[in-house]
Amino acid sequence: MPVRVTTARGAGFDSLAGMGHFDEDMYALRKRVQRLATDHAWTEDPPSRTRHFVTNVRTFRAAAGELRVQSALLLFRSRGDTREADLLSAGRTDLLRETADGLRLARREITVDESVLRTQNLAVFL
């Protein structure tokens, strides 16, 4: 999930080189999930109420046994009873792989639509 930036139309790039909000391998993802399962992950206890609105789904044939899937995502995140809710808008490009247990997510690229995120942290997945 690269950091998006505001650049001139002719600049030829609109994300930062070498810096993401997420840049995960299996170890890092496991640790994040394990953390949320502890009794001390305060930022999600009480938990956020989240809803992932996924739309504009398009699927493309990739290598044998694989699907490339593009989608648009709107994440609604509500914390506590008095705070304003957060919205995060992003595009996703996923690689799904066929396994004996059905399709599994092998890779995900997230293109977030804000350069300055309006949420207190990314303790939730996109």
Binding site: K31, R35, H40, Q120
Partner: protein, 456 residues
């Protein structure tokens, strides 16, 4: 109307009126007295390596272009057109030889000089009516660099940066000068949190006490080699010049190179640190046995250095982050968080260190997530009526007579004062600076600039 003198007197006793974390009038005083006259970090030279490279950064509401001109000189220019006040450059970064205002196309070179005014002859009667030469985007009133870090002050009479940094420069080198090549920055990640800017700055200045509880989850999941709580309370807390910070105690008996290896630095990087750091800086690691962790340079630039395990095999890799608490209002802060690494480090180390950073700090970092939850909540609570009656106790480490519970560490190689164990020494040091700067005079009135007279 707030009584600033009474607030200052409370803070001097280590008791903080809780409403200072959500008070509009306090924020106005901070804007006009503190930020209008302090040295504030904008960018690092490694973010603009080539001629024409620029980034756009702010000091509160004021936007500045930080550019490297065609001669390679770093320039900081107020991003407002001299003619009608349009924001001249609206991108966050890029490369340009000129900046052209979108409104009437007044055009400036990347060193700030006015290069073009459309219809100059017809509209202004040429040079006689409006002399283009000598006109330039307003330069930052004061500018200075240290270890490639670019600072400005809105005060044209700010003391020299080097004098301001003073003894804190000793500690800056551990984060920003690990070899003669200096550091390179990646980022920043930017996000907005509904928290007062002071809370993060204070936290990084010396709050080792929150680590065992706030960050219990990262210990639970084995992200670190050591059991965190005991590791934290053996660290030294230091204060020096305009900064304060925390350290970790290293295992006993190691020499300089062994201690750096313990923290996870590869052998290829150790000669860089040995050559760049002074005898005294090396002694802090080798003899005193402390390694820097979190720190804050007043007012709003913080640093963090830590060394998690980045894979299932338990590989320990250190990272450095610079972060700025950019005030938006008394109840909102934009966080800018950069990953920093020695420019001469091996590429594979840079990648592993970047991974260590992302797991721990920044917008998704597993440490930072829980910090921000606390800071948002404090700001919420500070906004009500009851908070005006509450004095937050920030006296940890002081006796009732105001003396330190323990004497300062004698065996500490760094300048300033250092104490071992928990205590809010660094936060009080930061608050003393805050107290002084929030009550000093505003900039003298009558200091104005305009297109006609600002020639330099």
């Amino acid at each position: 109307m707030i009584d600033l003198a009474a607030i200052v007197s409370e803070v001097r006793q280590g008791m903080i009126p809780a409403h200072v974390y959500a008070d509009q009038e306090i924020f106005a005083a901070e804007r006009d007295r503190l930020f209008a006259r302090s040295w504030v970090f904008l960018a690092h030279e490694s973010e603009i390596p080539d001629p024409g490279d620029y980034v756009v950064r702010r000091v509160l509401a004021d936007s500045f272009i930080v550019a490297r001109d065609e001669a390679g000189v770093v320039r900081v220019m107020f991003n407002m057109c001299l003619h009608r006040g349009m924001q001249v450059c609206r991108a966050e970064l890029g490369n340009a030889s000129h900046f052209r205002c979108p409104y009437h196309a007044w055009t400036y070179r990347n060193d700030g000089r006015l290069a073009g005014v459309p219809f100059h002859e017809e509209a202004y009667g040429g040079e006689d009516g409006f002399a283009r030469s000598g006109q330039r985007l307003l330069p930052a009133p004061s500018m200075g660099t240290h270890n490639g870090m670019i600072f400005i002050s809105l005060d044209p009479d700010a003391p020299p940066l080097a004098g301001y940094l003073g003894d804190f420069a000793f500690y800056l080198d551990f984060y920003t000068r690990q070899s003669p090549a200096g550091i390179e920055l990646r980022g920043p990640q930017r996000w907005r949190v509904k928290a007062n800017w002071k809370i993060g700055a204070e936290n990084f200045a010396g709050d080792s006490y929150h680590t065992p509880h706030t960050h219990a989850s990262v210990v639970d999941i084995g992200l670190f080699r050591e059991p965190k709580a005991s590791k934290r309370k053996e660290g030294a807390l230091y204060q020096a010049g305009p900064g304060a910070g925390t350290t970790y105690k290293l295992p006993p008996g190691g020499g300089f190179a062994d201690q750096l290896r313990y923290v996870g630095y590869p052998d290829a990087m150790i000669p860089g640190m040995a050559a760049t750091w002074s005898d005294r800086q090396r002694a802090l690691v080798a003899d005193s046995g402390f390694m820097v962790s979190a720190a804050t340079l007043f007012p709003n630039l913080s640093f963090v250095h830590n060394w998690p395990q980045i894979d299932a095999a338990g590989t320990v890799v250190p990272f450095v982050s610079l972060r700025q608490w950019q005030p938006v209002s008394e109840r909102e802060t934009e966080v800018l968080s950069w990953f920093a690494v020695d420019a001469a480090a091996p590429e594979d180390f840079k990648q592993r260190s970047y991974k260590a950073y992302l797991m721990c700090f920044g917008s998704s970092g597993m440490f930072e997530q829980d910090d921000v939850e606390n800071w948002v909540s404090i700001t919420d609570m500070a906004a009500g009526s009851m908070a005006r009656r509450l004095r937050l106790n920030s006296r940890m480490g002081l006796t009732s007579e105001g003396k330190p519970v323990k004497p300062p560490l004698a065996a500490f190689a760094g300048p300033g004062l250092a104490y071992q164990g928990f205590g809010e020494y660094g936060q009080r040091h930061w608050l003393a600076l805050w107290r002084r700067c929030s009550t000093r005079p505003t900039l003298p009135a009558g200091w104005t600039c305009c297109a006609r007279t600002s020639a330099t």
